[in-house]
């Protein structure tokens, strides 16, 4: 299999002079900027990012924090919320704040895998010689928003699998490496389930977090109305660069965790397995996989880093248990009949552990 590592260069052929200047700056940053420098900034970073995000997206600080957790752990997130809550706006805003390239795919039943990954097109050069040229799809970006992912067919959904897991795309016999950082932030609509294709378990498991976006409170909604009905939106400033994000990802993995806290996280995940009895046995058909254990510890580390701490606390594990586990727990028929949600089960498990 041939490795086509230069695809990003092909994509950025049309870059402006300004972008080239940016690249030079980042190259300079790359040689000097490391975890040491990133760690010095980390304490103030969280508040700064939240402040910038609040310019466009009001009253959802928890959601912003969870998306940052997914990014800092080099993972993907699934956003679920009713229409009109600003999911797409949030992802776009965060891409701007972090100075990342942003692409969006609107998933529909007729979306083809090649619409995501890209395809070969016939190109004629000056000597009228025809050749195939690869036209990269929207997946070649830093932040990919797959809007209403459950409306795409399973074939199209699975086209994202390799990109999400391996951070690469294989077209024909050629594999193209995606530029890092690469995140897929997919949105789902919990209503209007007709004509949708629920994500298969294998694909759901690849999302580190399932983030629920709820309605804003009255005060926040009033601010949203004022913001979007009076003139133009204030521009958001760039707070983080791609290099800084990579440094943060490195720092996240270096975050120390006490043995006791790690065992606590493992206990939570293993308790979700119905074989262990207890709440899991009553409410669940299937529990979380070891990937969830890894995800929970990583997410807790990223949260600790974002909060400017140099250790992981139990509070981090408890808070991150909900977004990490809620899409990995399969409720049994009885629980669904009673209207019990995965969050209810997680809450009970946290009380029991």
């Amino acid at each position: 299999m041939k490795r086509g590592g230069s695809i990003w260069e092909a994509v950025s052929k049309d870059k402006t002079a300004e972008t080239s200047e940016e690249e030079k700056y980042y190259k300079k940053m790359d040689s000097t900027y490391g975890p040491q420098e990133a760690y010095k900034r980390v304490e103030s970073l969280h508040e700064k990012i939240l402040d910038e995000a609040r310019r466009a997206f009001i009253g959802q600080d928890d959601v912003v924090e969870q998306i940052l957790v997914a990014i800092f752990t080099n993972n993907h997130a699934l956003l679920e919320g009713f229409p009109g809550l600003g999911k797409t706006l949030l992802v776009k805003t965060l891409s701007d704040v972090m100075d990342l390239k942003f692409r969006r795919i609107q998933c529909t039943p007729d979306l083809m895998p090649s619409d995501i990954t890209g395809t070969y097109i016939i190109e004629e050069d000056a000597s009228r010689r025809k050749s195939f040229r690869f036209e990269p799809g929207p997946v070649f970006t830093n932040v990919l928003l797959a809007d209403e992912i459950n409306r795409a067919t399973p074939k199209s959904q699975s086209a994202l699998l390799e990109a999400m897991q391996e951070k690469q795309v294989t077209i024909g016999t050629t594999t193209y490496k995606l530029e890092e950082p690469f995140f897929v932030l997919a949105t789902q609509n919990p209503i209007e389930m007709e004509g949708t294709y629920p994500l298969p378990e294998a694909q759901v498991d690849r999302f580190l977090l399932k983030i629920l976006i709820g309605y804003p409170n009255e005060k926040d909604e009033d601010r949203i109305v004022q913001l979007y009905t009076s003139g133009s939106l204030p521009p958001v400033r760039k707070i983080l660069s791609a290099h800084e994000i990579k440094a943060m990802q490195e720092l996240t993995r270096k975050m120390p965790i006490a043995d006791e806290i790690r065992k606590y996280a493992l206990k939570i995940v293993t308790t979700t397995r119905p074989v262990d009895g207890g709440a899991a046995h009553r409410y669940l058909e299937y529990g979380a996989s070891p990937r969830a254990s890894i995800g929970l510890v990583l997410a807790a580390k990223a949260r600790a880093l974002l909060r400017g701490r140099n250790y992981v606390s139990k509070e981090d594990i408890k808070t991150m248990a909900f977004p990490v586990l809620r899409h990995r727990l399969i409720l049994n028929f009885e629980s669904e009949r009673k209207g019990i949600t995965p969050d209810d089960v997680i809450e009970e498990i946290l009380k029991a552990v």
């Binding site: 975890p35 720092l251 120390p256 965790i257 006490a258 006791e260 806290i261 250790y311």
Partner: protein
């Protein structure tokens, strides 16, 4: 050795000193309790050292298993996770771990060892030691026979089976008229107890319970001289009793039938002349004759 490990080691030593102080108090308490138990059971008090020593080693083993970081975490909950994380990752080196360790070293310097001395707990133990010491002294100085639980030991040695068969168990002492101290007392005690128990102090066990009244001088028996006591004179069982109305003379009464083993029979009176060794002076002959004649009459 890095700064963090040094600080932890220093703190561990100080912490251990505090814990050993607590431990010794517990061991002293255990020793005193077992001493009291030994006294009540009539066992040598030195045996109390055995459970106290066992207690010391068991508690010491338990103390050695306690991680100093766990103990600090209990006293300083805000430091708990931080300290444990630093401790578990002390071998690692990176920018975050370094920052954590330097934070924790500062925190450890701010710890006060005095917080690990559980003052109310220590005070309670010290009071308990004083109280138990007082009890031991009281038991040693004052002879509380009524609380002597030595019979438990005797019964235990005699076999639990017998005790169970009798249906007596460990329900305490047998108070009441059937109590007979000679059944439960040892030789040393018997020497000091009443004469009917073969002791040296007549009248002690007169009354329903020894030492519980009804004895000499009590309302139950106004006779200050007590009941008759048995004695054996020349192979003859006699009852002695003091009668103040007769001027304090000692009456030698006839012994009761069941006490007397055989009657004194004087079949032949030998003349003093027949015995050279026991020659009686002439002026005493009549007195001696009257004495023996009197005896003969009494024996009839």
């Amino acid at each position: 050795m890095d700064k963090f490990t040094m600080r932890i080691d220093e703190f561990r030593k100080t912490f251990l000193e505090v814990r050993v102080y607590h431990l010794l108090l517990n061991v002293i308490l255990a020793f005193l309790l077992f001493t009291i138990l030994c006294q009540l059971l009539g066992i040598n008090a030195l045996y109390a050292l055995v459970p106290a020593v066992v207690c010391f080693f068991v508690l010491l083993a338990r103390e050695m298993r306690v991680r100093v970081v766990d103990a600090v975490g209990k006293k300083y909950p805000t430091l708990d996770e931080k300290l444990k994380t630093a401790f578990d990752n002390r071998g690692r080196r990176n920018v975050i771990v370094d920052s954590l360790i330097s934070d924790v070293v500062v925190d450890i310097d701010g710890l006060r060892t005095s917080r690990f001395v559980e003052t109310p707990d220590v005070a309670k133990r010290v009071y308990a030691v004083i109280l138990l010491t007082f009890i031991i002294l009281t038991l040693t100085m004052i002879d509380f026979r009524g609380f002597d639980l030595g019979f438990l030991k005797d019964r235990a040695l005699g076999g639990m089976r017998t005790v169970i068969d009798r249906g007596e168990g460990f329900n305490g002492m047998e108070w009441g008229r059937d109590f007979e101290v000679s059944n439960y007392s040892n030789e040393n005690e018997q020497r000091r107890l009443g004469a009917s128990s073969g002791g040296e102090q007549p009248g002690y066990n007169v009354g329903p319970i020894p030492g519980m009244g009804g004895g000499v001088g009590s309302n139950e028996n106004p006779n200050i001289f007590g009941d008759a006591s048995s004695a054996n004179l020349e192979g003859q069982d006699l009852d002695f009793q003091l009668h103040p109305e007769y001027g304090g003379e000692i009456n030698v009464d006839e012994t009761t039938e069941n006490v007397r083993t055989e009657p004194i029979e004087i079949t032949e009176v030998e003349s003093a002349d027949m015995c050279d060794e026991c020659a009686i002076a002439a002026e005493h002959e009549s007195i001696v004759r009257r004495y023996f004649e009197g005896l003969l009459e009494v024996s009839k």
